[in-house]
Subunit: 233 residues, 2 copies
């Protein structure tokens, strides 16, 4: 089946969130006279947001956006790093550091090439407006933004992929899910989407997981420019 | 209150749908050897789509997108114009003529300028993917697409404005609704949005209604480049 649209995971697949968040924490710490392992802070902040999303998907708590999930976790972590006196305004600004990530070197060029022939959309677990702000901040030329907020369910819940299928008005196989996370592609494939894997070092240079395709995905490439070339753009 | 985002009505406000649809009908008729008043066909097609939207808003029928509403009306009109033998493929292509409108001369430049300082989004009654395709076809540099489909309710139903407020994560007054339709601004203002009016001749050069602001809107301009200038872009 011919691909007509590409939906991209964003955190990790399109942008390097970790380097940017570590940098903002380091600057904030320096201004406060605090030195710490900001990479560990960042990893603790990111990796522990999954349980809250799982509770939403299971219906154990009503819908909350990731900005709230991240903010709650930030408030837990700050005292552990000697930053209990951070003001409300400082906390809000730190929380929005997730909206100021760095593009991987191939992301803007790759998506621009893909856009010339296909509809290109986000399909992220972030707030709708976070993703809009990330695309503006980074200069990502997406045609539209779709996120978990459109479905009120988080990846890998089937509802987010089904919402994308419905809103794009396409057959599932005409949509190519692009991600550096095998779990995301597994869930997309279960809903009939086509799949493209690429490896990223979003968790740092020592990252060993998600460096290889763990299934027979439709495409497996090294970066988004290679994907553009493979898809004739 | 400071404006942070602009939401644009699209059909009429940003694009000239009528000239494009008339042209596509004329070409289709010529290929079939049929000559007719294609402007009258187009006007009958557009103006009669309101009742179906009102039924959706009133809960009398379940949610349907405008592509279905337009298609049903097209199927009624074709026999009246000697085109009963149009094939399924031809009807689908004609129905998608709404996705191939013409930009008003100031639209692309005006939105590009406004985008430099504000978040710029659609807020249209069209299908989500119709609006995505229109922005691609015309080259409109919107940051994101929001439509009635996000709210499962049509303008002027309050739910569509409330959905925009929620998804953009802003206070109502921080959002500026931009439209050439006084009814749209009236409904937006009732939900607390800021309002900007501009006149268009979307129904043809003889159009006399909606040429003046009918209320004390926050802004009243001649076109989108003037709006950009007024807003400091």
């Amino acid at each position: 089946m011919a691909i007509k649209a590409l939906t991209f995971d964003v955190f990790g697949t399109v942008v390097d969130w970790r380097t940017a968040v570590i940098q903002e924490l380091r600057q904030f710490g320096a201004a406060k006279g605090v030195d710490a392992d900001w990479a560990a802070f960042t990893d603790a902040w990111k990796t522990t947001y999954r349980p809250a999303m799982d509770k939403v998907n299971a219906g154990q708590i009503t819908w909350i956006n990731v900005d709230k999930i991240f903010r709650d976790r930030l408030d837990e972590l700050l005292p552990q790093y000697g930053l209990a006196d951070a003001t409300e305004e400082e906390r809000e600004r730190l929380n929005l550091s997730w909206c100021r990530p760095i593009a991987w070197p191939d992301s803007v060029a790759g998506i621009r090439r893909l856009k010339s022939r296909y509809l290109v959309s986000t399909l992220s677990n972030g707030n709708f407006v976070w993703l809009v702000n990330i695309t503006k901040h980074v200069g990502l030329p997406f045609d539209c933004v779709l996120t978990a907020e459109n479905a009120k369910a988080y990846k890998p819940d089937p509802r987010i992929y089904r919402t994308a299928i419905e809103m794009l008005g396409l057959s599932p196989g005409e949509i190519l899910m692009v991600a550096c996370h095998n779990y995301d592609l597994r869930a997309a494939k279960e809903q009939g989407l086509s799949t493209a894997f690429l490896p990223r070092k979003e968790h740092g240079l020592e990252q060993t997981f998600d460096q290889e395709p763990e299934d027979n995905w439709d495409f497996s490439v090294n970066d988004l420019c290679e994907l553009a070339a493979v898809l004739g753009c």
